[in-house]
Amino acid sequence: MKHTLRTISALMLGSALFAAGPVKLLNVSYDPTRELYQDIDSAFAKQWKAKTGVDVQISQSHGGSGKQARSVIDGLQADVVTLGLAYDIDSIAEHAHLLPANWQTRLPNNSTPYTSTIVFLVRKGNPKHIKDWEDLVKPGVSVITPNPKTSGGARWSYLAAWGYALKKNNGDDKKAEEFVTRLYKNVPVLDSGARGSTTTFAQRGIGDVLLSWENEAFLALNELGKDKVEVITPAISILAEPPVAVVDKVAAKHGTAEVAKAYLEFLYSEEGQEIGAKNYYRARSAQALAKFPNRFPTLQLFTVDELFGGWQKAQKRHFEDGGVFDRIYGAGK
């Protein structure tokens, strides 16, 4: 009798394991990566099946980078996060302790498989002759960018403008603040996220220039058509590094730690790098970049670490309540 019970329970357990179906993975990402991770997911699932014989089913969640991080802190079961800036993953580590504080050292290149930068999207023919950052502060030029307090992309744009002014004025901080203040005087509307701003610029026809992620600008170009908009790459801009990380505690709970790690490592593989470049991300691999000649114009790039001493510092000084951004709008104390 006892034996039969044990056999039955063993059988049930076995069949439960057997019937569990594909491994499920949730990748919580930011707004403009929809198309990128659709390609990555199917390529990785194929490779993982060939290698281990296990089906893997990857779900995607997209939204503003900060909002997504908050959802994970509040309990969204993300196995991996692929967000717009390191500060947001830092926040997950700091507020919810779901991954160690040194997460960024676990994968190569600061855990950033691809980089991007901030470029300008202008109307066809570039009627306002916008070529570089200096043109954005001219009177009569209307600039569209989201609110950096709520949008990761906008923080990159803001720091790109600041960095440009620093470089031009030999590191004069005061001049940089003046420049950025003048720039925001030309901003008629602050959307809360990058996609919102793209809609304002493209669909509603507001503004002369949109400050945008490079990949987002190319997506808009493809979608709207070359007869509507043009991408202008300034001579100097910021090296945007959107990082990736396994959310250790969630992955451990789901038993997906191994596949989650493999998923992120796949981004660094030759195949993953090529998919990134195809989706207008600047791949780290020169070989992958070479497959898309003339796609990524060369420009002088600076990093947040170089000019701002890292994200924590930049966040505190510029975007926190009472910070420089508030001061620009006269809202600080």
Partner: protein, 278 residues
């Protein structure tokens, strides 16, 4: 005239009904509200005060409450007119018009916001005719009022409509036969009948406008110190992981809204009592 605490009624028993009401209010309304206050007090008073008295937050109170009051008043005026037309006149497409009134209830507010913004920007269908006149709607406080009126109007129409339909037309005829002018009939006969309903509609529209988020953030432009509404600042605080700050602003808004609604309800009760004694 005081209403007794207990009174014969068709519902079975006073105590079951009363207990249910109390339980409902406690569970559905008071629990989440007290959670807000508890969350807010996890931070120091100093920090909370700094958050709720910051210049951009104070500017947002002004916009949120100001625009909501203006939009509520417009809704009352226009809503009364719409209800009047729907009740008193027969015209082709009346059923359609009647159904249209409810549309803002059903429409996701973000859709309304996007639609209104496209209409009122400088190149929009409506905006292009207003711009030469020097009137800017999108990305100004005026745009906020427009969006709030759009979502507030049905509350007034639906509050006033049944009262107006029930109103005895003979009263008006009697007044007219006694020599009352049209104006007198309106102010002395019709308005007193619908006044409580107008107050109800105003309170509902006001409450809805104060909490509105989706439709406003598209048309307001969200410029700090100028067109940021208070709910947007609450969301902004959340995005910055400042939960205590967000709930502090929410608490301020809650207390102010509650006081305001209490005032409107008191006014309404007074007019009703006035009606009954007359």
């Amino acid at each position: 005239m005081l209403t007794p605490f207990k009174r014969p009624s068709v519902l079975p028993g006073f105590w079951p009904a009363f207990s249910y009401t109390a339980l409902y209010l406690a569970l559905i309304v008071l629990t989440p509200l007290s959670a807000i206050f508890l969350k807010a007090v996890t931070s120091s008073w100093e920090h909370l005060w700094k958050v709720i008295s910051a210049p951009n937050v104070v500017a947002s109170y002004r916009l949120s409450f100001g625009a909501s009051l203006v939009a509520g008043l417009i809704s009352v005026a226009v809503g009364f007119l719409v209800a009047w037309v729907l009740v008193r006149y027969e015209f082709p497409g009346k059923a359609l018009a009647d159904a249209l009134v409810d549309l803002p209830f059903a429409l996701p507010t973000a859709v309304a916001g996007i639609a209104l913004t496209s209409l009122y920007t400088e190149s929009g269908w409506v905006g292009r005719y207003l711009t030469p006149l020097g009137i800017k709607v999108a990305f100004t406080p005026l745009g906020v009022v427009v969006a709030l009126t759009f979502i507030g109007l049905p509350f007034v129409v639906r509050s006033v409509q049944p009262v107006l339909a029930d109103a005895d037309r003979e009263l008006e005829e009697a007044a007219a036969s006694l020599g009352a002018t049209r104006r007198q009939i309106f102010w002395r006969v019709i308005l007193p009948i619908v006044r409580p309903a107008l107050f109800t509609g105003f309170a509902l529209a006001l409450a809805r406008a104060l909490g509105e988020y989706g439709s406003v953030i598209f048309i307001s432009g969200n410029m700090p110190m100028k067109t940021e509404i208070t709910p947007l600042l609450i969301v902004t605080k959340l995005e910055q992981y400042d939960y205590a700050g967000a709930t502090a602003i929410a608490a301020v808004m809650l207390i102010a809204s509650f006081t305001l609604l209490l005032g409107v309800n008191a006014l309404q009760r007074r007019t009703r009592r006035f009606m009954e004694t007359e």
